[in-house]
Symmetry: C2
Subunit: 219 residues, 2 copies
DNA sequence: CTCCGTTTGTTGAAATTTCAACATATTTAT
DNA sequence: ATAAATATGTTGAAATTTCAACAAACGGAG
C-alpha cells in the first residue's frame, strides 16, 4: 500500500489526510488493489454498484453500450482519479456503465459502505473523508454537465470545437494530446466516425486547427 | 419558516433532521426565502455560484443558452428538490447555467459556505447535513448521467422513446404528464421542435403511443 | 362566447449526418 | 523486415434533421 502513497496523496478523496493516518484508514476501509490488463473489464454493467475505484496507474474508459449497440463513452479515467463513486454513493442496485482498461492498470477498490457508514473504530478522519467525497461528487456532476454542454451542440463541428476548446483550457496551451483515438472521440462526442474525420480535415484545410492523430493545435 | 416544514421534511437535504433541530439549523445557516414570478430569473448564468436553492412551491428550469443561441434545458426543478448545489459545492467561480421560474415560485436560498464550513455554534446536525448533501450530489450526478443516456441516442425517435420510458418508470404507470411543452421537450432532448412533433405523430400513427399535448400513454 | 396570442402539427427544401466501402497510414506481431 | 492488423481519411448515396413557413388547435382574457 505504501508504495502508492504519492499517487493517493494527489487523490481528491484523501485531501488533508496525512500519510500515517491514510495508511491506517485504508486498512480500516478494507481497501484492496487489483490489476487489470489492457481491454479488461474493471467493472461490468449490471454488476452491483458497491465499489469505488481509484486509478493508481494506467487509464480506463467509462462506457455504455445502448440497446441498439451504439457505444457511448462517458469519460476517461486517469491516475489519481476516482470512478464509479456516484453510482455507489447514490445506492444504485447495479452499475449502468462498464469500465474498461485502456492499458495495464492498477486500481484501488473500496467498498462504498465502509466510507458511508463510519467504522466501529470511528477513525478521526472519517468525517474528512466524507467531506472529500462530497467535493468529489460535486466535481463529477460538473464533469457530466460539461459533457452535456459539449454534446448538446447540434453539429459535429460545434461539438468538436467545444471539446477541443475545453481540452486546450485544461492543458493550459493551444497544443495538446487527447486521450481518444478517432472512433473513441466519435463515441464521446456522439457522432459518426467518418463524419468526424471529415470535419477534422475540413478544419485543418480552413487553417483553424493543426492535427496529427491524437495531437491537436488550436490556431 | 415554520409553514414550510412539511415541504422541507421531504427535502433530501434534511433527511433525519427533526423539526425543532431543523428550524434552529436553518437559522444558523442563514436560510432565506425569496419569491419569483413566472418567467423570472432565479439565478443567472455568470452569477457567483454561492447559493444552494430549494424549491418550496412552484417549479423552474435549469437552462443554458450556447454561443449560437441554442437553448438547452438541463432539467426541471419541482418542489422539495435542491438545485445549483453542484456548482456551489464544486466551488465554481460563476454559474454556467440560468434558472428560470416556470410559474410563481417560493425558493429557499442557503449560502453553500455555511453548509460546508461547520458553524461556530457547531450544530450537532451539521455532519448529518453534509452527509445528506453528499447523497444529493450523488443523485444529481446520476441524473446528469441519465440525461446523457437519453441524448446520446442518435435519432429523435430513440431520444424520445428513451425519455418517455424513463418518465413512465418514474410515474410507475404507462400514463403520465411531462413537465415540458413541445419546444421545451425539444430543447431537453436536443432536437428540432418540428421534427419532434412529426416523430410524435408518427409514433401515434404506428400505435406505439397515445398523446395529447403534455399527456402521454405508452402502449 | 369571441378574439388573440401561443402552442402544436405539417410540409418540402436545404443541410447535415450516417452508412458502407475502400484507400492510405500507422502500429504490432512474428 | 515483412506481414497482418488496426486506425484514419475519403467519397458518394441514403437517411435524417433542420429550417422556414404556414395551418390548425388550444387556452386565457375580456
Amino acid at each position: 500500500m505504501k508504495k502508492y502513497f504519492e499517487i493517493l496523496q494527489k487523490c481528491s478523496l484523501f485531501n488533508k489526510i496525512e500519510e500515517e493516518n491514510l495508511i491506517s484508514m485504508l486498512d480500516c476501509l478494507g481497501a484492496k488493489i487489483e490489476l487489470f490488463d489492457k481491454k479488461y473489464t474493471i467493472f461490468a454493467e449490471g454488476n452491483p454498484a458497491k465499489y469505488i475505484g481509484i486509478m493508481l496507474t494506467g487509464s480506463a474508459q467509462i462506457v455504455r453500450i445502448d440497446y441498439y449497440g451504439n457505444r457511448s463513452i462517458l469519460s476517461n479515467v486517469e491516475p489519481t482519479e476516482v470512478f464509479a463513486e456516484a453510482f455507489a454513493c447514490a445506492g444504485l442496485p447495479s452499475l449502468p456503465v462498464t469500465v474498461i482498461a485502456n492499458e495495464p492498470c492498477e486500481v484501488m477498490l473500496i467498498d462504498c459502505n465502509h466510507i458511508l457508514h463510519t467504522c466501529t473504530n470511528n477513525c478521526v478522519f472519517h468525517q474528512q473523508l466524507i467531506f472529500n467525497l462530497m467535493k468529489d461528487l460535486a466535481s463529477k456532476a460538473i464533469m457530466f454537465q460539461q459533457k452535456i454542454e459539449i454534446t448538446s451542440q447540434r453539429s459535429t463541428r460545434e461539438k468538436l470545437m467545444a471539446y477541443l476548446t475545453i481540452q486546450a483550457k485544461k492543458a493550459d496551451s493551444n497544443r495538446f494530446d487527447i486521450p481518444f483515438d478517432r472512433q473513441e472521440l466519435a463515441d464521446y462526442l456522439e457522432v459518426d466516425r467518418s463524419g468526424l474525420s471529415a470535419e477534422i480535415s475540413k478544419l485543418r484545410r480552413e487553417g483553424i486547427i493543426e492535427n496529427h492523430r491524437k495531437h491537436f493545435i488550436l490556431l
